[in-house]
Subunit: 192 residues, 2 copies
């Protein structure tokens, strides 16, 4: 399957995951307004992924002639203790987020929307449960003093230093990194 | 936690996982006889990890003065359809293994043994269930024509190209890569 993806996301991790799976990626940041009022994490990530993909599709549709080319939008949040966690604003925010995650289970939701070149579109999501070992205050301080938390939903990167505190997951690992690549590829495969 | 680990394994992936978690690694390949007769995957990986660690501990014990230094042995197998899969011998073997894994669930077991500098030792294991999407014959051929399968138990690398065929896992991701680092670090922490 040859795939050219116009990715409505600036995330270097999403680009890398898709490239590892063999896709060619063009980064097309969307100009969608991402401030929406939605408290359900599944609805939130689905809506935001749709808005991002739609924005890029509307800008680029005249350039998408090829049936192997599509637009992909995605949004990831961490959901813990009934709260939706995005990226931390600062160190204090990162500390508060890690304290909500250590010693218990939370969920990571990624919504994704695909616009095909013929105008068909599909939105879906993936949920992964993540179980984090208890962390001491010293371990939390050490972690939030690294650069890792600051560009990531929930203030951690499972693929980085934080991996050593993750007991187990239930779901797709790449979804926690930022994109459920295998589910997206299956969706595309079955849409042909 | 400062940790100096004498690693009874030549696996570059195990070394990298431990280094990412902040440990200093010295590679000390064991001279243990790894041909043992054992059909239970848990018993097999526990016994092999013990034999590897014991061999290195016996060679190095006079050099391990420091309580932050320890010997670690590990062994990983894939268990599918009642069969234990190690590394594939050749392309035909890799093809047969991938055909046993695609479209269904299997388990990855890693056994590990730690020898501390005072002679105490502990053996434990981790199991992760891995769910693989159905793969076409073309996809299987494409995969076994890469270099990826040939140094890995079960003929796949979840962290590489094969990741795009993995629907989800239940357990520790790093265990599938080759070493349950978070469980090993917890074991060390609680032994102090």
């Amino acid at each position: 399957m040859n795939l050219n993806i116009l990715l409505a996301s600036k995330s270097p991790r999403r680009k890398e995951l898709l490239e590892n799976a063999g896709a060619k990626i063009s980064i097309c940041p969307s100009d969608a307004d991402e401030n929406i009022d939605e408290n359900d994490p599944v609805e939130l990530v689905k809506k935001l992924s749709f808005l991002k993909a739609e924005s890029v599709y509307n800008n680029e549709k005249d350039n998408i002639k090829d049936s192997d080319t599509l637009v992909l939008g995605a949004d990831t949040v961490v959901y813990a203790g009934g709260k939706i966690l995005g990226k931390p604003a600062d160190k204090e925010d990162a500390r508060a987020m890690i304290k909500m995650l250590e010693g218990k289970e939370h969920s990571v939701f990624t919504g994704f929307t695909i616009f095909y070149n013929d105008g068909r579109k599909v939105t879906d999501y993936s949920e992964t449960k993540v179980y984090v070992y208890p962390m001491s205050d010293e371990e939390i301080e050490e972690y939030i003093n690294t650069k890792e938390p600051y560009d990531k939903a929930g203030a951690y990167g499972i693929q980085g230093i934080f991996g050593k505190y993750v007991e187990k997951i239930d779901g797709d690992y790449q979804n926690v990194v930022g994109l459920p690549v295998s589910k997206i590829l299956q969706t595309i495969k079955h849409s042909k």
